[in-house]
């Protein structure tokens, strides 16, 4: 009788947990429709391992570099771990987590996020929390994820002990039940890959026409917290024998001030890092702002991303010694499939636009 009770208790517990898991899976946003950016971080795990180059950063990496082009032209195996408005501490912990899966030859970090010293400094906290979710919810469970959550929470989230809602996302999304769509059921168990090794393709064209003017700042000095995490990146890459390369992508806005650039130039010199401000290389890259952007200069479209990948791939080969793997049959087979998917996606998106 006692045995039967224990069995029933365990069965009840298992059923409850399964129901809660199912409910959570249903209520969490799928990011398969209009806001695909939220799915990017989670896609890494299916493509992890054997990447010589890993890009980490905000939209300026996942919108601007095509890994497929770098493979086709240089045989470089690369992947992007990008998410919208990814903050530097999130980049650091993603970098730390990446080393659990692979040890790339080069880590490329986009430095725009140096301008945000704290979660509060990004502005609207409701939107900040939503951006946090797009980076953190997609990460698999690890110490890196937990530390990233602690570093990322807004003041409001801290007040209501928000870390538990990252551990149990059902606490965050419980009231989405009234907003469920067909997408939530369709992608309940299996999601589509929305990116090509982390690159989110756009084929539209919206030309850059006028300069995006911004008022001058009171203080251009990057914050202590930003430097703290940049120092940690330098140290982490050194520990793993990986070359850290700093870049500023050629997006025309938000403004990248000369004073900011100078600080990065000096930091790179001090630490013996390669820093490439690609805004200064626009002509060499061949970016045509009337054709190569889909949102008037904030991001490149696929035509611009292919040009940038072609230019930057050469730097990776010549200055970082990244190898050409096109002669490796096993790797080539894997990448042939990725290339095929890329061109199918490109064709489909071109047909839509």
């Amino acid at each position: 009788m006692k045995k039967k009770s224990i069995f029933t208790l365990c069965a009840c517990l298992a059923v409850c947990l399964a129901l809660l898991w199912l409910l959570q899976a249903l209520l969490m946003p799928k990011y398969m429709g209009s806001v695909k950016e939220g799915a990017l971080i989670g896609e890494y795990y299916d493509n992890a391992g054997n990447n010589d180059v890993v890009f980490i950063g905000d939209c300026e990496v996942y919108e601007n570099f095509s890994p497929i082009t770098m493979w086709e032209e240089y045989g470089i195996t690369s992947i992007i771990r990008g998410s919208p408005q990814q903050l530097i501490w999130q980049s650091y912990y993603l970098m730390e987590e990446t080393f659990q899966y692979e040890t790339p030859k080069v880590m490329v970090f986009n430095v725009l996020s140096m301008k945000y010293d704290t979660p509060q400094s990004t502005g609207d906290q409701t939107q900040r929390e939503a951006y946090n979710r797009m980076t953190l919810d997609g990460m698999r469970w690890s110490g890196s994820k937990w530390n990233s959550i602690q570093a990322s929470m807004t003041e409001e989230e801290k007040q209501w002990q928000g870390q538990w809602s990252y551990l149990f996302p059902l606490l965050r999304y419980h009231d989405r039940w009234s907003q469920l769509t067909g997408e939530d059921f369709q992608y309940l168990f299996k999601k589509d890959q929305v990116s090509d090794n982390g690159y989110l393709m756009q084929t539209g064209v919206k030309p850059f026409e006028d300069e995006h003017i911004q008022p001058p700042l009171v203080d251009y000095t990057f914050g202590e917290n930003s430097y703290y995490y940049l120092d940690k990146m330098v140290e982490l890459c050194k520990q793993h024998g990986t070359q850290l390369v700093l870049i500023k992508a050629p997006s025309l806005y938000p403004v990248w001030w000369d004073e900011w650039d100078q600080q990065m130039v000096e930091y790179a010199e001090k630490h013996g890092l390669l820093y490439v401000n690609l805004l200064e290389k626009q002509e060499e890259i061949g970016i045509d702002w009337s054709q190569d952007t889909y949102d008037a200069g904030l991001h490149l479209n696929v035509y611009g991303a292919e040009k940038l990948a072609s230019y930057f791939g050469k730097i990776l080969v010549e200055e970082c010694g990244v190898a050409d793997h096109r002669g490796d049959a096993e790797i080539s087979t894997v990448w042939a499939e990725k290339v095929k998917t890329y061109y199918q996606r490109k064709e489909a998106l071109q047909a839509q636009s």
């Binding site: 939107q127 809602s165 999304y173």
Partner: protein, 173 residues
């Protein structure tokens, strides 16, 4: 045993639906900045040719009074809906945020000495002129006066002893 099953059932419901200490969320995909209090009469403003241009003010009213700007740009944000707009006139720039069907003033700043604050300060003025108008309380000890009122801020930046920039913005966060 029935009690046990009931307990777990209630537990599911409690965890799943009654966790209301978390913020009430709309669909995360539709999140737009939660910035303003449109039409707030206490917000910072300046006057140009008889028209008050005020933080949180209706941009349509400004456009109707001042006409089209000499330059206009739109900025999207990564992943989110909504469009921030920038209107550049000869002597000042206005940025807006969208709320509902309308655009409201989010920030403005001066470009030359042909416009001045309601207290009479303009680009090129001395530190003494700024302190005469606003006092010394907001001085950061280096290069700027930063004044705050409710969720608004006004920043006056100095360069080589003279005002080089005057900016007003809604403080969000």
């Amino acid at each position: 045993m029935k009690r046990l099953i009931a307990f777990f059932g209630i537990l599911c419901m409690v965890v799943g639906f009654a966790a209301c200490s978390t913020p009430q969320t709309t669909d995360i995909k539709g999140t737009t900045p939660n910035v303003g209090n449109p039409g707030d009469p206490n917000a910072y403003y300046f006057n140009y040719k008889g028209t008050d241009i005020r933080l949180n003010g209706d941009m349509e009213v400004v456009l109707n009074a001042l006409g089209e700007p000499k330059n206009y740009t739109e900025e999207t944000s990564c992943a989110f809906e909504g469009l921030d707009k920038t209107y550049t006139y000869d002597s000042f720039v206005i940025q807006t945020y969208p709320k509902g069907e309308k655009d409201y003033v989010y920030a403005f700043w001066f470009l030359d000495d042909l416009v001045k604050t309601p207290e009479g300060v303009k680009i090129g003025d001395t530190q003494a002129a700024v302190e005469a108008a606003y006092g010394a309380e907001g001085y950061n000890g280096r290069n700027a006066y930063i004044l705050k009122k409710d969720t608004y801020s006004m920043t006056i930046i100095q360069n080589d002893g003279a005002v080089s920039s005057i900016q007003y913005t809604i403080t969000i966060g």
